[in-house]
Amino acid sequence: MAGKRHIVTIGLNHKTAPVEIRERLAFSKEDTPLVLEAMGQHACVDEIALFSTCNRVEFLLASQDAPNAVEAVKDFMAEFKNTPRHTFEQSLYVYHGDEAVRHIFRVAASLDSMVVGEPQILGQIKESYLHACDYRTCGVVLNRLMHRSFSVAKRVRTETGIGDHAVSISYAAVELGRKIFGELEAKAVLLLGAGEMAELAVEHLANNRAQPIFVANRTFERGLELAERFRGTAIRFEEVRDYLRQVDIVISSTGAREYILVRDDFKGLMRARKNRPLFFIDIAVPRDIDPEINRINNVYVYDIDDLKTAIQENIDERQQEALRGERIVDAAVIQFRRWFQSLDVVPTVIALRDKMEALRQKELKKTFGSLGATSEEDRAAIDRLTAALVNKILHGPTVFLKQSANKDEKALYVDMTRKLFSLDEPGEAEPEPQG
């Protein structure tokens, strides 16, 4: 009888490897077919899938010879990426069995992400899985595991608040903007100064269709450059006060030592604006916008600390929600283990026999009850007859299950047998239909 198949994940992520190593080992879309083809044919590897994003590289394997398969993957990575093994080996983690399953579930559910709860990872994994399907490197085990991980991810997303609320400064700015303006569409944005965070915030606003975008910089050339990037208009720094009449959102990030806007600048401004709300996002340290301005009606001023406080609450909340997510994952791991163990031939054969025997006993009892007076001998004969019948019927399937050489087929047939004879009922059955 061939050995049992093991599930293994081997990989590295943002926690275990610095970006220099991650970018070195990342597999591009073009690499993927080559990897799957090469590794799929390896003797130790029965099934394989590969995920590679900017934060992680993961190989997911089903193998009967796990230690050698792990070695094979490491060798392959070193060779394919032209990088000596010792440079990245320390960054690699290897999980077996339940731990491997848990890892995949956690990755798919975004519990293992750099920003917990970020939604892109599930899409990336789905895409990777489709590739593996295209190259037929996924079998019974990985198919099941992947579909499971999708449904776990979906459950975690819908049943916990893991994906709710902004956790980055620029998203928080967008969220606040939405609470003030409703739609950000056609809201004019003014960027004062420059800086990574401020530019990111403008980008997010622009993605939410905020426009037009104005850029004011002390050096006009730099302003022009940025304006071009956001398809906006560069204005002179001296014009800022005039533009306050028409813009809705101001993102400020200059290196000025003093406030560049004070309360006095707002005399008559709100009337000229017809009281339309004005939202300042002051990312600069020291601050550009006098916090007193926040007291003016329909004007809102958020500085970097305010935004951070708002985000911190969301981060705390996500952490709480992540704990609930872990519980869902735990339950799913146990469920998966049950199914996985049932793929073994021996327990299946025993379960099949037990089921038949139970049926036989039940029917015998019924028959003896209705026959009335019968001799001991007759009863023994009937008993023998039924026992022989059951044995004969089960002989073929048992031998077939034990002998089917191909491991992939074996798992399939065992699975099929369990379904045909409803061996997982009652109680033990998987509660959800096949994905």
Partner: protein
């Protein structure tokens, strides 16, 4: 009929709980159920009012019982109409309880027989009270939108996004809803006061007698007129507009009760 009225009350009550539950748990299905219940309650209520009209031969706006019931009906009606344009889910959590309270109080009040006035006078009175009731309903919704606006505005100004920040819609939407209700309510109020003045002339032979009700009604009208003017002329919006709406509605409410009790 009273069975149907009881059913209406039950629907409003259940709908109120549903809307509150939606705010608390943020589950869409609860909101949908609350919505359906409000619709069912509204339809039943409409039938009740129709039957009442059929039975008594007059539009039920002649005593406090009838007026409160009609007011509850109008609040729900105006809300359902405004909601087509302004998708303001959380407002139901205030509107439905108001309707519930109105109909519950109405159901407990005595129903004195109405002495029907001669036809023309009766018509004026019906027009007068009827439009005011619908106007009041619109102002009630404006007032609620104002309250929610103040809560949300405070959360944003004080930078403490908490329970309500997440659950309440944008300031813009709350402000627009208040504005829209004002635009519905103000012509009703104006028309109601004009018909009232004419009615007074018919009954008492004088257009205006300077009694407290009339003075209050006048003040209310001035408050809302000023608010509307500021909104139109200089784009007044936000906090001050919300506060003024709430004040206006409180005076209006006083007038309403003074009218029936005094």
């Amino acid at each position: 009929m009273s069975l149907l009225f009881a059913f209406t009350i039950a629907c409003y009550l259940a709908s109120s709980l549903g809307y509150q539950g939606y705010i608390l748990f943020q589950k869409r299905p609860i909101y949908r159920v609350a919505n359906i219940l409000l619709w069912v309650g509204f339809v039943c209520h409409t039938v009740v009012i129709g039957l009442q009209y059929h039975e008594t031969g007059h539009v039920p706006v002649h005593n406090l019982h009838e007026s409160l019931s009609s007011f509850g009906w109008a609040v729900v009606g105006v809300f359902l109409i405004l909601r087509v344009k302004y998708h303001l889910m959380v407002l139901g959590a205030l509107v439905a309880p108001l309707a519930t309270v109105s109909v519950v109080i109405a159901s407990m009040l005595p129903r004195p027989p109405v002495e029907l006035a001669p036809f023309v006078r009766g018509l004026w009175r019906t027009l007068h009270v009827g439009t005011l009731i619908v106007g009041n309903a619109a102002f009630a919704i404006a007032c609620f939108a104002g309250i929610l606006y103040l809560i949300q505005e405070k959360a944003i100004k004080q930078k403490r996004p908490g329970f309500f920040f997440r659950r309440l819609p944008s300031l813009k939407l709350l402000d627009s809803m208040g504005y829209a209700s004002l635009i519905v309510g103000f012509p009703m109020l104006t028309f109601g006061i004009i018909t009232g003045v004419i009615y007074a002339q018919m009954v008492r032979g004088r257009f205006w007698t300077w009694d407290p009700k009339e003075i209050l009604a006048g003040i209310t009208w001035l408050v809302f007129a000023a608010l509307l003017h500021e909104r139109l002329a200089v784009g007044w919006q936000g906090r001050r507009a919300a506060i003024m709406t709430i004040v206006g509605f409180v005076i209006l409410l006083l007038t309403f009760f003074l009218f029936f009790l005094g």
